[in-house]
């Protein structure tokens, strides 16, 4: 059963098997062009595969939007070390719930994408790092991997074509920071999830210090359609330099929240009104977090834009992980920021001081402020703390905490002012303590 009704506006490339009977099984997969892209890729050179991916305009779906083909081309060709394919299935950016569906409804598409990545860089071993909370998906992926071994799509001599590739799942144990690529690799090696200094990037020194391709689940899932139908076809679905479709996770105050596959560059207001069924209860739109809680928020009047990496960057926000969080006129932005900051303070790995102390102080300040015990000078202090963290932390988690802070203080200063002089939060009936 699907978790939400599809929308007629969707362009279903990665999600086209969702809703088919037994969509998890290899038989359904094979009956719908499954593993054809992999067979085609066996006959292609490494450069051909990478060039096809480059031509597709595919950019990483984990958050940063780095061009995937280019990332693969950084893997050294003649390194004597083994090479690894690592899948980031840690999905924990607040607002994001798409990788879950890609694994649940079409696990073989992910496996096929991984296999093609293996061919492209000459790797024979892959791992899927799945967040510990997704236990049932570890089971789904394990079953699919067993099926692929049984049918000869994984193993020492795949399809008798002399290709060798092995694949296994790996469970996390609860830590947002382990979604950050270098922290993920540390965690994978059985250590605390503290990030590594970069460079070297994983392409050169990743898992066990060996060359490693590390991508998001959705990124790998886009590979089979790209190889089968051509990079140009995929590129043509989106906007320039932003190829393809992407899974947008709509949540918050809308009538039809859900995960929808839409072309890159789909207009955000249309996404809210036509795909998402408009604002719940006919309320007015106040703000949108366009790509997970790390992104600067957009005010209602800034939302008439194309959802692709470059347009969002030009609007001083980010497309991020595809988590579109819609907030109506009754939302307290101070409260929203406070909740986001509680998250970052909890998830900060504590390795570097600007992030560890900055997120903790912001959480304390915002808690006090929201309770009506703030001072006018706190508004400046909150913004300054954010600005002083930005760009000064060891890994991007510090930026992820700073960016929403800076944008909310700047864009919703009036809401901070409305909490001053002992006033209880104007958006709540009564003031109450938020566990800090």
């Amino acid at each position: 059963m699907l978790y939400n009704e599809p929308s007629p506006l969707e362009v279903k490339i990665l999600t086209r098997r969702f809703g088919l009977p037994n969509s998890q099984s290899i038989d359904t997969y094979l009956a719908t062009d499954g593993y054809k892209a992999f067979e085609k890729a066996i006959g292609m050179s490494q450069d051909d595969i990478i060039n096809e991916v480059k031509a597709s305009g595919l950019r990483g779906r984990g958050g940063a939007g780095f061009p995937t083909g280019m990332k693969w081309s950084f893997v050294p060709r003649n390194s004597p070390k083994p090479k690894y394919i690592m899948v980031n299935a840690d999905e924990s950016e607040p607002g994001t719930c798409k990788d879950r569906l890609l694994m649940e409804y079409d696990p073989h598409q992910l496996i096929e994408g991984i296999l093609i990545a293996g061919l492209a860089v000459g790797s024979q071993q892959g791992y899927i790092y799945i967040r510990g909370e997704y236990r049932y998906l570890i089971e789904v992926m394990d079953r699919a991997i067993d099926e692929a071994y049984a049918r000869g799509y994984l193993g020492d001599n795949i399809l008798g074509r002399g290709v060798r590739f092995h694949l296994a799942t790996h469970s996390g144990a609860g830590a947002y920071e382990c979604g950050e690529e270098s922290a993920l690799l540390e965690s994978f090696e059985g250590k605390r999830g503290n990030p590594r200094i970069r460079p070297p990037f994983p392409a050169v020194a990743g898992a066990y210090q060996c060359p490693t391709v590390l991508n998001n689940v959705e990124t790998y899932c886009a590979i089979p359609p790209i190889i089968l139908q051509g990079g140009a076809y995929f590129a043509g679905l989106g906007t320039p330099k932003n190829g393809g479709t992407r899974l947008f996770c709509l949540s918050g105050h809308i009538n039809k929240p859900g995960v929808y596959e839409l072309p890159m560059g789909f207009n955000l207001m249309r996404m809210i009104n036509e795909v998402g069924g408009g604002m719940k209860g006919g309320k007015k739109l106040k703000a949108v977090i366009p790509g997970g809680s790390s992104c600067p928020v957009l005010k209602a009047d800034e939302c008439d834009l194309a959802m692709d990496f470059d347009t969002l960057a030009a609007a001083k926000s980010m497309l991020g992980s595809g988590g579109v969080v819609v907030m109506d006129e009754d939302t307290c932005m101070v409260k929203a920021l406070l909740r986001i900051m509680r998250f970052y303070a909890h998830e900060s790995c504590g390795w570097c001081i600007p992030c560890r102390e900055g997120t903790t102080w912001l959480r304390k300040l915002l808690t006090r402020f929201h309770e009506g015990m703030g001072q006018a000078s706190d508004i400046v202090l909150i913004g300054d703390l954010g600005k002083n963290m930005l760009g000064r932390t060891f890994c991007p988690l510090g930026d992820a905490a700073a960016l929403p802070t800076i944008s909310i203080v700047e864009k919703f200063r009036d809401e901070f002012e409305a909490h001053l002089n002992g006033e209880p939060c104007p958006y709540e009936n009564r003031s109450r303590l938020v566990a800090a």
Binding site: R135, A173, S251, I340
Partner: protein
């Protein structure tokens, strides 16, 4: 320390997943699956996993304190996790959390006296589009209403299994 034959088989498989000289990679998966069986990170369990992956118990302890799903104290038989992060917050996650605490008379990471139910306020669990979301052990519940959570908690506290509680069904297959 002895584990169930199922867990032993799982551990054996874990150790074959990684290069032989990289057994340490199996540590965190071993810990979390062992916790499911043992209940918490006991000293004995830590020493056993340490031995199997070739590190010291101190090294295991140093790692496990980092991860929020690994705990030194046992949680309830049913660990009820309520998400209050942004998408859930907007549609009533906080109310669910407060009601659950009030109903059981326990708070964050606390367990009822009989050990049946424990509560945890958790961060985003990847169900934002079907918020507010709750997890009981590893099972997901979507679009949870206050009435449904009441029903679920009452049932669990009374010793029922989740499958015996009707009108509030887990969504994962």
């Amino acid at each position: 320390m002895t584990f169930s034959p199922e867990l032993e088989a799982r551990f054996e498989k874990f150790l074959t997943k990684y290069p032989p000289e990289r057994k340490r990679s199996a540590m965190i998966p071993m810990l979390i699956y062992a916790q499911d069986e043992v209940g918490s990170m006991t000293d004995e369990l830590i020493a056993e996993v340490a031995k199997r992956v070739g590190v010291t118990p101190l090294q295991v302890n140093e790692v496990l304190t980092y991860y929020s799903m690994l705990h030194r104290k046992p949680m309830g038989k049913y660990h009820v996790q309520v998400c209050t992060n942004i998408s859930c917050l907007l549609v009533g996650g906080e109310e669910l959390w407060r009601n659950a605490c009030k109903k059981l008379g326990i708070g964050h990471k606390e367990v009822t006296a009989d050990g049946q139910v424990s509560l945890e306020e958790v961060e985003c669990m990847g169900a934002c589009s079907w918020a507010p979301a709750v997890q009981v052990n590893y099972d997901f519940y979507h679009d949870v209403t206050p009435e449904q959570l009441d029903k679920l908690i009452d049932g669990l506290a009374a010793g029922k299994t989740p499958a015996e509680i009707h009108g509030v069904e887990r969504v994962n297959p």
